[in-house]
């Protein structure tokens, strides 16, 4: 039996909502979940007693964490694996840089400035290394390998919110950039190598859920999961549903826990949930 603890930001909700279906598919795995608001997760770490703790900003924070998880911290000892969910490793910054810059050696899209490939690569590598260091801070004393699953790539449908949400504008411009693939690959390869150099692992989004570069298929953003087993009323295009959670957990089970699914999945977690409610 493999025992893993999933710690992360609000995106843990998608994973947690897939827990039942995951248990059916991978009965040899035992998963526990601990989710907190993004800023708390990013500033959290493991204390000397081996518990993952977060710096509460106020009592509301504390109350939310206790209500959601049943305790305000979680012990990490006794787990074979830690899966950390919620970092973005600065990719949005790199995409934002391409809003004002074309790559000198690449295609022209009428941006007011150009940046050389050499410099852009140096920025991507340096800043990614900094984010890896930040992500590992607080986990130095955890003995095993950490696996990082990023915050889900936003749904490609996020462009519906252009003009209202900066992330939507940034990604809309990035997806229209002919040299986007080079930027994305440079970042992803470097990130994977930077984590591997420190003995850790990156869990990529499976191709089946992706809708291009740094984008998730819109269907995974429908009725996105919240941390407390609910669903988001409005499509925010950033949080994902249980189907996404199951896809990520399956990838984790197969690549990191070495498990294979027991039988085919009959119904998607989303449909199953609908049936339960009906």
């Amino acid at each position: 039996m493999s025992k893993a603890l999933i710690i992360g930001s609000s995106h843990v909700g998608a994973y947690k909502n897939a827990a039942d279906m995951f248990a059916e598919l991978y009965p040899e795995a035992e998963l526990d979940y601990f989710g907190v608001r993004g800023p708390l997760f990013l500033n959290g770490g493991i204390d000397k007693a081996g518990r993952f703790i977060v710096p509460f900003r106020d009592e509301k924070d504390r109350a939310f964490v206790v209500t959601t998880n049943g305790s305000e911290s979680v012990a990490t000892s006794g787990y074979d694996h830690l899966l950390l969910v919620g970092h973005r490793f600065a990719f949005v910054n790199f995409a934002a840089l391409l809003r004002d810059h074309d790559i000198l050696e690449g295609a022209r899209t009428g941006k007011p400035r150009v940046i050389s490939k050499v410099m852009l690569k140096e920025i991507i590598e340096t800043v990614t290394d900094m984010t890896v260091e930040d992500a590992l801070r607080g986990f130095e004393d955890f003995g095993g390998t950490l696996t990082f699953a990023m915050a889900p790539y936003p749904a490609s449908s996020i462009v519906e919110r252009c003009g209202e949400l900066e992330l939507a504008d940034v990604l809309d411009s990035f997806w229209a950039q002919p040299d986007a693939a080079w930027v994305y690959d440079t970042w992803l390869n470097h990130l994977r190598n930077a984590l591997a150099a420190k003995g850790h692992h990156l869990l990529k989004q499976p191709d089946a859920v992706n809708d291009g570069l740094f984008a998730t298929k819109p269907k995974y953003a429908r009725k996105a999961a919240t941390l407390n087993d609910g669903t988001l009323g409005k499509k925010d295009h950033r949080h994902m549903n249980a189907d996404y959670g199951l896809a990520m957990l399956s990838a984790f089970a197969e690549t990191r826990l070495g498990l294979t699914p027991q039988g085919a999945m009959r119904t998607s977690p989303q449909k199953k949930k609908k049936e339960r409610i009906a």
């Binding site: 000198l104 050696e105 050389s116 410099m119 800043v127 900094m130």
Partner: protein
């Protein structure tokens, strides 16, 4: 103030002058260094006045200090704050109002502005080294060079548009005069920031020649620079400083020490005369604060060339105090003494982000 011409007085014309006019009270017994009142701004600088910064490597400190103090320093080729400063500086970003790098001579400044407005075409604008290509006018801005000469030219076109934009919005130019010596492409008069062959390119003494600009040429060049800025904004002001950083090397044939004194004297003369002759020019004595003998060389690193962070802080504090018109109360004096103490300890751990990019230092590598 000295008596007016035509008025008869029976006492010495020096009688009644301010303490700052006398060496003993103005320097020896001033109590702090730099002496208080060493600089009286000719015009105020509003925090929202768009400032164009340029000059030799010491000018990087000036721009950075102004920006940190909340002044509006123009940057038409910006990099976001999350890009580490050291990395940005290495590629020429966040140093000056556009990505032109160090401008050591006024002729170089003039040619950049003329080129930006289509009135000058530099000769031999692309240099090659080991199969990589460099902008001859700012070879230090692309470490490792670019893959093709067309990339250099296209990048330069974007840069020149950024220079134009910067000029168009300028309310004040802060310029640090650095050198009189440079290398030029003889047939066209194009001057370069580094001698061909230093970072890239090849020196050809049939085509390239050494030039040591005279005061009259520098003054004339700066007055043309002024015309260009005034065409965009007739109310533009100019604040000049002279870099206290000595020459790394001279090609004049003289010993480097007198060659340095000569160059700095010429630049200081031009700056002083422009400030005396025109209401829109002011001079700030950073050169004197760091280099004159009352500082006893203590603001220089052991190489007697690079200015210590402490020296930079003293210079910039004198500048900001004068412009922010802080009264010299007991509290201010106490704070100054505390700051001096902190200066000494801070020198031990000068932050790398404060390091300046100075291609001129590369010359040292060519000593042997």
């Amino acid at each position: 103030m000295a008596p007016k011409a035509g008025s008869e007085v029976t006492v010495s014309p020096y009688q009644g002058l301010d303490d700052r006019a006398f060496w003993r009270s103005g320097v020896v017994e001033a109590g702090t260094y730099p002496p208080p009142d060493i600089y009286r701004p000719k015009f105020p600088i509003a925090k929202n006045l768009p400032i164009f910064t340029a000059g030799s490597c010491f000018a990087q400190h000036v721009g950075r200090t102004l920006a940190n103090a909340g002044y509006h320093v123009i940057d038409t080729e910006p990099m976001p704050d999350w890009v580490p400063a050291e990395l940005a500086h290495k590629h020429g970003y966040k140093l000056y109002s556009a990505r032109f790098g160090n401008i050591y001579t006024v002729r170089q400044f003039l040619q950049l502005l003329q080129e930006a407005f289509g009135n000058f075409k530099p000769a031999d604008p692309v240099w090659e080294k080991d199969g990589r290509y460099y902008d001859a006018l700012r070879p230090g801005m692309t470490p490792g060079g670019l893959a093709r000469p067309e990339h250099v030219m296209e990048s330069r076109d974007y840069h020149l548009r950024a220079v134009q934009e910067a000029v168009a919005e300028t309310g004040m130019v802060v310029f640090t005069l650095g050198l009189t010596e440079t290398w030029q492409h003889k047939p066209s008069g194009t001057v370069y920031s580094t001698a061909p062959g230093t970072i890239a390119g090849r020196i050809d003494l049939e085509v390239h020649s050494f030039v040591n600009f005279r005061a009259s040429e520098i003054r004339k060049d700066f007055l043309t620079v002024r015309k260009i800025f005034r065409a965009a904004n007739p109310d533009v002001k100019f604040l000049l400083t002279v870099s206290p950083v000595p020459l790394t090397a001279t090609a004049s044939g003289a010993h480097v020490l007198p060659a340095t004194t000569y160059s700095k004297s010429v630049l200081r003369t031009v700056a002083g005369e422009l400030a005396e002759d025109f209401d829109d020019f002011d001079y700030f004595p950073s050169f004197e604060i760091v280099s004159s003998h009352p500082s006893a060389g203590r603001f220089f690193e052991p190489n007697l060339r690079s200015v210590k962070p402490r020296g930079v802080r003293r210079v910039m504090r004198a500048f900001l105090n004068a412009h922010e018109n802080k009264p010299r109360t007991k509290e201010v004096r106490r704070a100054q003494r505390r700051a001096l103490q902190e200066d000494r300890t801070a020198d031990q751990k000068a932050a790398s982000a404060e390091d300046v990019i100075c291609e001129e230092e590369l010359l040292e590598a060519f000593r042997k």
